[in-house]
């Protein structure tokens, strides 16, 4: 403390002479940086550490909780993939009871699915790694033309899995679009379940900002994934993806 004080005095004395000739006094605030880093030069407060410790142990334990089992790993891929199909399908399954009506379409992007689901036991920690973001599920009502733009986007980018629909990619455009088994009708609106992130134009899905209606479901995507896997496990079912052909690519 003494040492520090004398250091301050020395600098004060030094700067007095400098200040005298260089800096006129102004009544405005003297602004240096306000940020004091919380870094490794600081030791952890033992009292707080003791309080955190049991919670930390429980977090670690819960993250290693097994929620389900996958006979094969669910991986990402172009257009449609085990992981992409699994997520868009569960978005529909988990959203519909909250929305209380059938939903026409489901969308995710590969960028939002951070890691594959591993073969074997799936832990809560795996799901946090797959979906670390606090993204919430929303239901958008889209005009026919917006839906067409969305399918063209999916056909061109190859990284946007769509659920409850099939289509053909021809010359980089989506053709022969069928939604819930019926031919796509440009003249009507469709509902789409996706994350609030993508609904806001994330991954350049700018057409989604033209939604005529946005309804939040109050359910995080990560929570929806966990619920789906827990429900499968409770029913004695493995974690698998539906593999029916969804996207046909013409040369």
């Amino acid at each position: 403390m003494n040492n520090h004080f004398s250091k301050v005095l020395t600098v004060l004395a030094l700067s007095l002479s400098m200040a005298g000739c260089q800096r006129p006094w102004a009544a405005s605030p003297s602004l240096g940086t306000t940020d004091v880093p919380v870094d490794k030069t600081l030791s952890a407060d033992p009292q707080l550490e003791a309080q955190i410790s049991p919670y930390r142990e429980e977090v670690t334990q819960k993250m290693s909780e097994v929620v389900g089992t996958a006979p094969v790993a669910l991986v990402k891929g172009e257009y449609e993939s085990p992981l992409g199909n699994f997520v868009v399908d569960l978005q529909l399954a988990q959203a519909e009871p909250l929305y209380k009506k059938p939903i026409d379409l489901s969308l995710t992007t590969n960028g939002g699915l951070r890691v594959p689901l591993p073969e074997g036991e799936i832990t809560t920690g795996n799901i946090f790694e797959l979906m670390p973001f606090e993204n919430e599920l929303v239901v958008l009502t889209l005009k026919g033309e917006t839906v067409k733009q969305l399918f063209d986007y999916a056909a061109e980018k190859k990284f946007a899995p769509i659920g409850n629909a099939t289509y053909t990619v021809q010359n980089g455009k989506a053709t022969n679009i069928r939604i819930n088994g019926k031919p796509f009708d440009m003249g009507r609106t469709y509902t789409l379940v996706t994350s609030d992130y993508l609904a806001g134009g994330g991954d350049n899905l700018n057409m989604l900002k033209d939604a005529v209606q946005t309804e939040r479901l109050g359910l995080l995507l990560r929570e929806a994934i966990l619920q789906q896997i827990r429900q499968l496990a409770a029913a004695g079912k493995p974690v698998t993806a539906e593999t029916g052909k969804r996207v046909t690519i013409l040369p």
Binding site: M18, R23, W25, S30, T33, P37
Partner: protein, 310 residues
């Protein structure tokens, strides 16, 4: 960088001393200093970021912040500690314990007040109500009307703190919840215009409560391009606030933004990023005689050095 800040601040401080023509100690005896420490958007970051090469890896951590705060409390006579919202959401600690640990640790650090961020509604009004008993500090909220909810009468709009006869009036402002938070989660909470509310608060705190310093804890966000109300707009359009401690936009400011009003009154806007990577610090000085604010320093001098035991 730190050294430059150190010198800059010291030079300005020294110039003030020389102009007053008083020795250092005599000048110091005439003033009262108030140290304001603050965080925003802690996002349940209890533990430090893993030191794995990521940005801010190895930084943050609430137990370390407690050490830093305790150290400053030992050095400074008058310390106030505030948070500007979004205490919750972002790590499994929140998912598993609903915010209990965050409130407990902030209580241990002796936070003086906080305001509500949008993510503090993530477990609904019920989730918030359930956790409030763990917080031994008040949440200040002037522009949310909870009258028609289970949280009616649970939040004061402002609180007046007194430190060595200096009165510090602190009020809270929150962001519009519609479109940002699911309505299931905020229910019948009404959002009131932040500018009108702030004007009322300034009137109340300056005229009726006779405060010497007015501080706003805001979760409005620093600055937007689309005309949405932000901290800079608030600073420009409402005169009489000395300091706006912001949040929501996770903005790292190298130094506070100063908004000067025609009357000469200055409003500072500050924000310290997110996740408790930094602790914000501002040191105000007041004349002992008039209790008027005489200056503010945001020097990192006494705190930006390694902890030593000597």
């Amino acid at each position: 960088m730190r050294r430059r800040d150190f010198l800059k601040t010291t030079i300005a401080g020294a110039a003030g001393v020389s102009l007053l023509g008083m020795p250092f100690t005599a000048e110091a005896a005439q003033r009262i200093t108030l140290t304001i420490l603050h965080t925003n958007d802690q996002h349940s970051r209890i533990d430090l970021f893993p030191d794995d090469g990521r940005k801010y890896g190895g930084m943050g951590g609430m137990a370390r912040r407690a050490t830093l705060i305790e150290q400053i409390r030992k050095e400074e006579p008058n310390v106030l500690l505030f948070d500007s919202g979004d205490i919750w959401q972002g790590t499994p600690y929140f998912n598993f314990f609903g915010g209990e640990l965050e409130y407990k640790l902030m209580s241990q650090m002796k936070y003086d007040a906080a305001t509500l961020g949008n993510h503090d509604f993530d477990n609904g009004l019920e989730g918030l109500e359930k956790m409030l008993p763990h917080a031994r500090f008040p949440f200040l909220s002037a522009n949310y009307d909870f009258s028609n909810t289970i949280l009616q009468n649970r939040f004061a709009p402002y609180k007046v703190f007194e430190k060595q006869s200096i009165k510090i009036g602190v009020f809270g402002l929150g962001i519009e919840l519609a479109g940002l938070v699911s309505q299931n989660n905020y229910g019948e909470t009404l959002y009131l215009d932040p500018l009108d509310t702030a004007r009322e608060m300034v009137q109340e705190l300056r005229q009726n409560q006779q405060c010497n310093l007015v501080v706003c804890l805001s979760h409005l966000g620093y600055k937007y391009d689309d005309g949405k109300i932000d901290d800079v707009t608030l600073a420009r359009q409402v005169e009489g606030i000395d300091l706006i401690l912001g949040g929501h936009t996770h903005t790292f400011l190298d130094q506070p933004e100063v908004v000067r009003h025609a009357s000469g009154h200055e409003t500072l806007v500050n924000q310290v990023g997110w996740s408790g990577i930094f602790l914000g610090r501002l040191d105000f000085s007041f004349s002992k005689k008039t209790r008027q604010k005489t200056g503010v320093r945001t020097a990192a001098v006494p705190v930006n050095r390694p902890v030593t035991t000597s």
